[in-house]
Symmetry: C2
DNA sequence: ACGTACTATCTAACCAGATAGTCAGAAACT
DNA sequence: AGTTTCTGACTATCTGGTTAGATAGTACGT
């Protein structure tokens, strides 16, 4: 048998992503993750420490991927919302992971420095766009951003089975359009 | 010792509400519920059947309370969103229960006939308001309603501890205003 | 009043299976 | 030989759910 620590780590992470997205932290089973990863359970503890730390690794990775993939464009917030929608549509597990995280890890994502900093940047960018008159000033920047994220995520948390079966493309398109429309209305100067 | 089946049932339901809101179905512990309710664990199984059925009873009750308390006013959707915001602020456990439900009970809330029917009614009401020109027709009624709910729930899922400590009133007021503003923009003809 | 049979409500102990986490050592690679 | 990577068996504890029986309240015949 080939031996490759890097690869086993990656297989564990992939299996854990699916498991946590489906069942959350409390519902996830370490044995099931090990089996799905075709790895020995002990490797999970050697590489990640504990079930919770494994979840953190999974979640940090997924959030990092989102942050790297979908940059904010404060001058085109509807487009940004659409891009978020697309990303979550493409990676349904992210949305579920985020919801589990919010419910099972009290204290929010204060531990994710990367995400925290990115959020601060986004808030600044929105504020600047408001000052420049590109975006309406009806609500404070951080609240506007929170609303935008909520709107973009409205249809994002499909169950694992429902996710497996592709939703009809026209339905997805209509929802995407609704999201973009809502953010247009919301951010109109 | 006094014996009162009704009261024990109620105590179990109250304890279960807190437990499920805090930990979800998988994370909830039946023993902890029994202890918090000062009831024998067996009573839970006699009265409710199983942990999942107990959750359903809790959730159905909480949803029913919402439906009875916050009626839709299709002519004033911003006000409806504000009322939803208020209700969820007053009953933080509902929002958490709803999120756990969405994550842990695949298939959505198809089982809640009452809620299903109520949602259909709301969609019709929104559609009628659009036809009457009271509400913009930029998006289909069911999508508009979904967006409205998402916006109203944006700040609703505080962790149990964070919920215990009251959020500053001015912060709540600002968020409420943001929700109402967003729905005004969204539904403007 | 009083005992008796009956039912509803409750209790404590118990169980079989699951679960996170550990350990000693084998197998591959250098 | 030495180090990294992996394995299978093991454990202490917990968990949802069950069971057998105790206790309180009630209806009723006398």
């Amino acid at each position: 048998m080939k031996r490759d620590a890097q690869a086993t780590r990656a297989r564990i992470l992939a299996a854990a992503t699916a498991e946590f997205a489906a069942f959350g932290i409390a519902g996830a089973r370490v044995d099931r993750i090990a089996a799905a990863a075709a790895a020995n359970k002990n490797m999970i503890y050697i590489y990640f420490g504990s079930k919770e730390q494994l979840f953190d690794a999974v979640y940090t990775g997924a959030v990092g991927q989102l942050l790297d993939t979908v940059p904010i464009d404060a001058a085109d917030l509807p487009g940004y919302a659409g891009a978020l929608f697309d990303h979550m549509n493409l990676h349904p597990e992210l949305s579920r992971l985020a919801r589990w995280h919010g419910l099972e890890r009290p204290g929010g994502f204060a531990d994710l420095e990367h995400a925290m900093a990115a959020t601060m940047d986004k808030i600044s960018a929105v504020g600047a766009a408001q000052t420049a008159g590109l975006v309406g000033s009806g609500v404070a920047p951080h609240e506007l951003l929170a609303l935008l994220l909520a709107v973009a995520a409205t249809w994002s948390a499909g169950s694992p089975e429902l996710t497996a079966e592709q939703p009809p493309a026209e339905l997805t398109a209509a929802r995407r359009a609704a999201v973009v429309f809502a953010v247009q209305r919301l951010t109109d100067p």
